[in-house]
């Protein structure tokens, strides 16, 4: 393989070149010399002679047309001249080496009930430092097992720059972990039958109970007389009363819009009105709607457009006796009651009550259905 030599090449222009070259050879070795033109020559010298050659050429009134470095010398020269690049490279390598010894993240796997952040926080608190070399995985495993009752087995490993924690949770019976709530009624009803499965009963058959009242307590008293928590379970059937209501007033004032309206608007900037269009409003009875919004979203200045809309209204006295609308109101109340009944439910009884006084009547339609209100 041909050796790549380092050279510095000068293209020069001047007179009496031969004489100058003879003088130059007393100081340096000219590697190549070629005459390009009558007054132009190209010579190459080794990098160690470059400085002397350049000085000589200048002192002997030669014009240096070009100067080029070739070979490994040039690469080294270029590389060394890029101090920023070298510094950046060194810094990057140093940072990379330094960061490879640091723990960046903690990953927790296998936990279902134990919160990840609790384990992570515990590890972070118990780490001596973030350096991998200072992290003892065996010790951390023991600490985790000692501090978390729910951990059955745990393995801690360092993979790359992460601490990987594999947790196997212990299986505990629900009784040990869950706090049970009592069984409560969702309806106003009368209990028709009870079949207790688990827990302590708070009600009895034939009892009328209110919505939210306790049905079964979440514990039992065992043969030793000790209280034990259990999930309350029972099949309880009850007659549930579902009702709908409608109201009627024999005389009342009805207000309605006639359809006529008047609009007034203005444009303002920082609260100062710039333009306004105030149409005349002659309504004696009206409803007023006011709107204010930015004129344009993209404008730098916050121009606002403010609108006032006057709707003309009229008030009318409406009079109707209850006997005229009784059927209609009863049907309305029944419809409302039926809305609360589930499909395929058997209606056991229906009942209508009308309460009235001072021209106001309240119709209540009650439907009785049988429902299971316990929880199994």
């Amino acid at each position: 393989m041909k050796k790549i030599e380092s050279k510095v090449r000068y293209e020069i222009k001047g007179l009496n070149q031969e004489r100058a070259f003879n003088k130059l050879t007393k100081e340096v070795t000219i590697l190549t010399l070629e005459r390009k033109d009558k007054h132009v020559s190209v010579l190459e010298v080794s990098p160690k002679d470059a400085k002397k050659t350049k000085k000589f050429l200048r002192n002997n009134n030669f014009e240096i047309l070009s100067e080029k470095s070739q070979g490994p010398y040039l690469w080294r020269k270029r590389f060394l001249s890029c101090y920023g690049l070298i510094a950046g490279l060194v810094l990057t390598v140093a940072c990379y080496i330094a960061q490879t010894n640091i723990i960046w993240q903690i990953r927790v796997y296998g936990n279902e009930k134990l919160p990840t952040n609790e384990i992570t926080a515990f590890i972070q608190e118990n780490m001596k430092s973030r350096f991998i070399s200072n992290f003892n995985t065996k010790q951390m495993e023991i600490k985790l097992k000692d501090n978390f009752d729910r951990i059955s087995s745990v393995s801690v490993a360092i993979i790359g720059q992460s601490v990987v924690v594999n947790v196997h949770e212990s299986l505990l019976p629900d009784e040990m972990t869950t706090i049970y709530q009592p069984l409560v009624s969702e309806y106003d009803c009368m209990i028709t039958s009870i079949e207790l499965i688990q827990g302590t009963l708070s009600v009895k058959e034939g009892q009328v109970i209110r919505k939210g009242q306790e049905l079964v307590k979440p514990y039992i008293i065992d043969s030793q007389g000790q209280k034990r928590d259990v999930k309350p379970m029972a099949k309880i059937e009850a007659d549930v009363w579902i009702s709908g209501q409608s109201e009627h007033k024999e005389s009342y004032y009805k207000r309605y819009r006639t359809g006529k309206k008047v609009e007034q608007s203005n444009i303002s900037l920082f609260g100062l009105v710039i333009y306004s269009n105030n149409a005349e409003m002659k309504f004696s009875e009206y409803e007023l709607v006011e709107q204010s919004q930015n004129l344009n979203k993209n404008l730098l200045l916050p121009f606002k457009i403010n609108k006032k809309i006057y709707y003309e209204t009229k008030t009318e006295l409406i009079e109707k006796s209850f006997s005229e609308v009784e059927k209609e109101k009863t049907l309305e109340a029944k419809e409302k009651a039926l809305h609360s009944i589930e499909e395929c439910e058997i209606i056991k009884a229906e009942n209508v009550t009308i309460k009235g006084g001072a021209g106001v009547y309240l119709v209540t339609y009650t439907i009785t259905v049988s429902r299971e209100i316990g929880g199994v």
């Binding site: 070149q17 031969e18 004489r19 070259f21 003879n22 050879t25 007393k26 070795t29 000219i30 590697l31 190549t32 010399l33 070629e34 005459r35 020559s41």
Partner: protein, 105 residues
């Protein structure tokens, strides 16, 4: 001890070089000529492509077609095409190119 061995090695190298000096060998083989005359310059033409010069006393003309230089008691004219000078030192040079004529005047 080591120094002595190194010194003897260097002396041996010097002797070996003297033994294999091409020009000295040729001069020795023609014993009848005056050695002072033979010490002025040496020219070796290798296949008309390279001319090695030893003992020149300065370049007098340089072009692609002709290179001339001074020697002791004379001048050498080298003619040819695409002539380029290689390794020009104070007393040696290599002329590379298509050398057609070497004349000593």
């Amino acid at each position: 001890m080591i120094n002595k061995i190194l010194l003897s090695r260097i002396n041996l190298d010097v002797r070996e070089r003297k033994v294999f000096n091409f020009f000295d060998e040729i001069k020795k083989s023609i014993g009848s000529l005056d050695s002072n005359i033979l010490n002025s310059y040496n020219l070796i033409n290798i296949s008309g492509k390279i001319l090695y010069v030893e003992g020149h006393m300065g370049l007098t003309m340089l072009s692609k077609e002709m290179i001339t230089f001074k020697v002791k008691k004379g001048r050498v004219i080298v003619e040819g095409n695409d002539l380029v000078m290689y390794e020009l030192t104070e007393n040696t040079m290599k002329i590379v190119g298509k050398i057609s004529k070497v004349e000593v005047v």
